[in-house]
Symmetry: C2
Subunit: 320 residues, 2 copies
Amino acid sequence: MNDPLKLLNGKPIACVGAGLVGAAWAIVYARAGCAVNLYDANPAVLASAPERILSQLGALHDHGLIDEPVDRIAARVRVAASLADAVAGARYVQESILERAELKRALLSEIEALDDGQLIVGSSTSGIPSSAFASGLRMAERVLVVHPVNPPSLIPLVELVPSPETSPDALAFARQLMLACRQSPITVNREIEGFVINRLQGVLLREAWAMVKDGVASVEDVDKGIRDGLGWRWAFMGPFETIDLNAVGGVADYAQRLGPLYQRIAASRDHADPWDDALIAEVEAQRRELLPRDQLVARAHWRDLRLMAFAKHLRSVEES
Amino acid sequence: MNDPLKLLNGKPIACVGAGLVGAAWAIVYARAGCAVNLYDANPAVLASAPERILSQLGALHDHGLIDEPVDRIAARVRVAASLADAVAGARYVQESILERAELKRALLSEIEALDDGQLIVGSSTSGIPSSAFASGLRMAERVLVVHPVNPPSLIPLVELVPSPETSPDALAFARQLMLACRQSPITVNREIEGFVINRLQGVLLREAWAMVKDGVASVEDVDKGIRDGLGWRWAFMGPFETIDLNAVGGVADYAQRLGPLYQRIAASRDHADPWDDALIAEVEAQRRELLPRDQLVARAHWRDLRLMAFAKHLRSVEES
């Protein structure tokens, strides 16, 4: 199934929450050809969304990352007058509201009142398991986490996290929808803290902070270690494929030879200590030396341009 | 100091060990304009080195990654007839022999007999602290680890790891030499197991293996999590810069908000368990499903092409 419209039975997708994440999701779905109903309970956020979407579509167009005229894609996004206007008749809801379980639960109760018995809801939450806000609802079997890396309009990875109540059909639908919209879905089989992505980032960050705390390396040098070293392979291969290709006999050969080293590294570190105030102040001071506070916004813009250039690079190598 | 020849006082660099790593170092130094004396105690390895170097230079040329004719660079690499022929008169030795401390110690004893009192030795070792093979030698203060990511001819990151005996001058020389040869040196202030790079890779790998063991995610999905998600930013920013730009108030703001999450993630994992045989077999089986054993070599070649395409991408965005 590569046509999202077939999967959706011609129905629209409701994007509820039109902030940074919700607007980027609207682009993902509209770019793939879907009709999008966009809604936000905050009128100011909703009012600014179409212009933000147009601006981001323009940037994607300038980098050669969209194939259709910007206006044609933008025209697929309709600003809805109410939650009911957005959700009634939709096949799928992408929820991207504030990260508070009680708000999500309240929203789901409202959505349930509009449910035709088919509606599937994916939550963009980065950390709240959907059982925390969907459990006990009639539609709980059609709710799951559909967590993007920001912005999903640029970075393809999406974590699908079913709750114990989520049905296999709802999970399969979300997976097919992501594939049809050219995202890269992975399945997190259990509602584990941090899901997969933040766990991987989390262990790396903790070792990074610990090395700074111990005076082993500076913030700048740890960053170079990834940027100028490990990040080169991780830009197009995962860590398993990396080590699979780093030993003549593949990953088992690698694990036999280097497993003990990594075990010693892990055993040498107490991972449970928090980042204390002194360490946070030290890392903050080193970062502000490298990037003054008043340049944070400009650097974030630079990052977005680099992400688009990277996306274009991937397109060109994957097409060649 | 951007001219390596001034730093070297016109003297050559001796690359001792001409396998994969040593040959790639010869390219790094010759490409920067240095005269290289290449030696390997194994005649077959030494005999094949010039052709391997030419072939790699050709690939770099084809990807637009070198600015001079291949032959002119290759002509700077001289195959030495003996260790003495390679080292006598050199300013710096890049040691890239087998990863065994006793072999490195024996080599250093031979090198010390040729030492003019100025010679500095950098070891390519990925895991042996130089104190394990240089301690007690007269020239110990001029020995340190200069550990590349493979191949250094492509990936710029180099870890400099002084031993307690290494002099500040020797460390500063190695750092200047790396910068002059367009590598990206970082300093590992203590001889910590795994240095910086392998510690970062190690904690990420251990969490990856643990998630597969627990059935949280498949090998393929963990890899996608990096390749299609986290790796996008780490391709051009380190983890500290990433989080510094991911909170309005910078890294301290981020740490206050998300530190507790990462602490809970860390606390939820016992890091000291080894990778057992059943787990290794499971990961191996999943990888062989994705990439049959007889395609490992072809895929490693694909990886090298992707690394070159990535290097070209970085060149183009950094020049624009």
